[in-house]
């Protein structure tokens, strides 16, 4: 299988690029966090699935960008597989890595207090296998959309624009017995064919995407035509100005499968 990929990202208006709290993983670029826009083509090892992921660190928590990066990197390495299996066994090591990283320097009282609450992130990961199968797993409101021949085949894990709220259940960097990960990981599976396109995106853009699709539009056509960088920033800027998209960090992975 071949995969032509494109990464578009933009911080929330008013925030610096260094404050961007989304993260992604693609095989040829590795784990990213708003460092550069990428367009790439890859021919992965057929024995290894093509893994990709997006994560969205929650605004109200601290060190969420770091947590989102750790999660997407773990998706890329297979530590958090796109079947949702074994996540509860992998998360303790990721949580420990997060804590080690934030503890590297002394923290003021408010950062200590935020540390106790932990960081939070939504995560959506997918794996495309050379035999034509795909699987996906998600927690929260980052989404995967699978499009074939101008038809939306799969919207996952949310499939209605009205399902997006400002209080999603998210993956926490602090283990709490009361949280109960069980039942929170959503999974999906299907088959892909050459010519299909998969889009992974964080919540603000995903909400717009579903609203457009519900109104009879073909939002995937606009996304497929977008160029990363300034063109993407202009396009998102217009949507924000028209209040058609919430002002939030935005990440879009476009994966054209062949």
């Amino acid at each position: 299988m071949n995969a032509a990929t494109k990464v578009c990202w933009l911080p929330k208006a008013g925030n610096a690029a260094s404050e961007f709290e989304d993260a992604w993983f693609l095989p040829e670029t590795g784990s990213g966090r708003g460092r550069r826009a990428r367009v790439a083509a890859s021919r992965p090892d057929p024995a290894v699935p093509f893994r990709c992921a997006v994560a969205d660190g929650a605004t109200e928590a601290s060190f969420s960008g770091l947590w989102a990066r750790l999660l997407t990197t773990a998706c890329g390495s297979g530590l958090l597989p796109a079947t949702g299996e074994g996540w509860q066994h992998s998360l303790p090591a990721l949580r420990a890595a997060w804590l080690r990283s934030v503890r590297r320097r002394p923290l003021p009282w408010y950062a200590e207090a935020k540390l106790e609450a932990g960081a939070f992130a939504a995560l959506c990961t997918a794996a495309f296998h050379s035999d034509g199968r795909w699987t996906a797993a998600a927690v929260g409101d980052s989404c995967l959309f699978h499009v074939r021949d101008g038809q939306l085949l799969t919207a996952f894990p949310l499939d209605r624009a009205a399902s997006f709220g400002s209080r999603p259940w998210l993956l926490s960097s602090v283990d709490r017995a009361v949280d109960g990960l069980e039942g929170r990981i959503r999974v999906a599976a299907g088959s892909w064919a050459p010519g299909d396109t998969a889009f992974l995106m964080t919540d603000a853009l995903a909400c717009w995407f579903l609203a457009e699709a519900e109104a009879g539009g073909q939002p995937w056509a606009a996304l497929a035509a977008l160029r990363p960088g300034a063109a993407f920033a202009d396009w998102i800027g217009r949507l924000r100005a028209a209040r058609r998209i919430r002002n939030d960090d935005v990440t879009l992975l476009t994966i054209a499968l062949s």
Partner: protein, 279 residues
């Protein structure tokens, strides 16, 4: 649409707290046996300031989503923050975060997940200490707030309008504050009128806590009814957030709480995604 302005560093909002420091605050508070009203108020105030700070705390520091002020009224009317912020009426929240009067060590009790209780030491920032002296010049405090916030909205015409939270035992001694409260509620930005909340701390043990009622009928005394009438109606925007937080609100709910912790008021303002599993 009013109350729709995004709260950001470019367009911050403002919280001004008016705190009753009169002699009557020496009385016990029905909301927490063994505690004087002045002590309860200082605790509530410090927790609200801590909560506001934590909402703006990010990996790199505290973002100035809010400007914050505390005016005390008792023997005098004036700025009530302690320590190095003494005398400053309104400060950016990052300045507040970096300058508590002191950090106390307190013990926090937590569920250990196995039916037991864990005790853990935490740092608790203190900006305001209990004071109970003199009369209750609520009219004077409202008049000060009108001056301060008229100037603030002139500098921030597009911001989410200021929120004033008056915490008192309800007995104004310098007259009926209705006219000053009206003047306060008339202050506005392009996004809407200032929102006035009253948190009423009473020694009356007859009444159970009341949050955001939509009628004065069940309020226990004439002080409570007066404070209810001084409050802003809860705008639809805040009502929907309050409902998301689990409060049962009527359509005519007002920003009034009786013998209850008003910390929920500051949680209703949205500055971004808040996970449902973050408590």
């Amino acid at each position: 649409m009013p109350y729709a302005a995004e709260i950001s560093r470019a367009n911050p909002s403002c919280f001004l707290f008016l705190i009753d420091q009169s002699g009557s605050m020496e009385d016990p508070w029905a909301g927490q046996p063994g505690k004087k009203k002045a002590e309860a108020l200082a605790d509530i105030m410090n927790r609200m300031l801590q909560n506001l700070t934590l909402r703006c705390a990010k990996s790199e520091g505290v973002r100035d989503y809010y400007h914050v002020g505390v005016i005390g009224y008792g023997a005098t009317v004036g700025a009530a923050l302690g320590g190095s912020l003494a005398g400053r009426a309104i400060v950016p929240i990052s300045t507040l975060a970096d300058n508590p009067a002191r950090l106390e060590e307190r013990v926090k009790k937590e569920d250990d997940g196995a039916g037991g209780v864990l005790e853990r030491k935490i740092k608790f920032p203190v900006w305001v200490d209990p004071v109970a002296r003199g009369g209750t010049p609520m009219c004077g405090a409202f008049a000060d707030a009108v001056k301060l916030l008229s100037a603030w909205v002139a500098e921030h015409p597009q911001s989410f309008p200021p929120i004033v939270i008056n915490i008192t035992d309800g007995e104004s001694t310098d007259g009926n504050p209705t006219a000053q409260a009206e003047a306060l509620r008339a202050i506005h930005t392009e996004d809407g009128n200032l929102l006035l909340f009253n948190a009423h701390l009473s020694a009356s043990d007859a009444a159970t806590p009341i949050l955001y009622p939509d009628t004065e009928e069940n309020l226990p005394d004439h002080y409570a009814r007066l404070l209810f009438r001084l409050c802003s109606p809860m705008p639809e925007y805040l009502q929907s957030f309050a409902r998301q937080e689990g409060f049962a609100l009527g359509g005519e709910s007002r920003g009034y709480v009786f013998n209850a912790d008003p910390v929920s008021i500051i949680q209703f303002l949205d500055i971004g995604t808040r996970p449902s599993n973050l408590r």
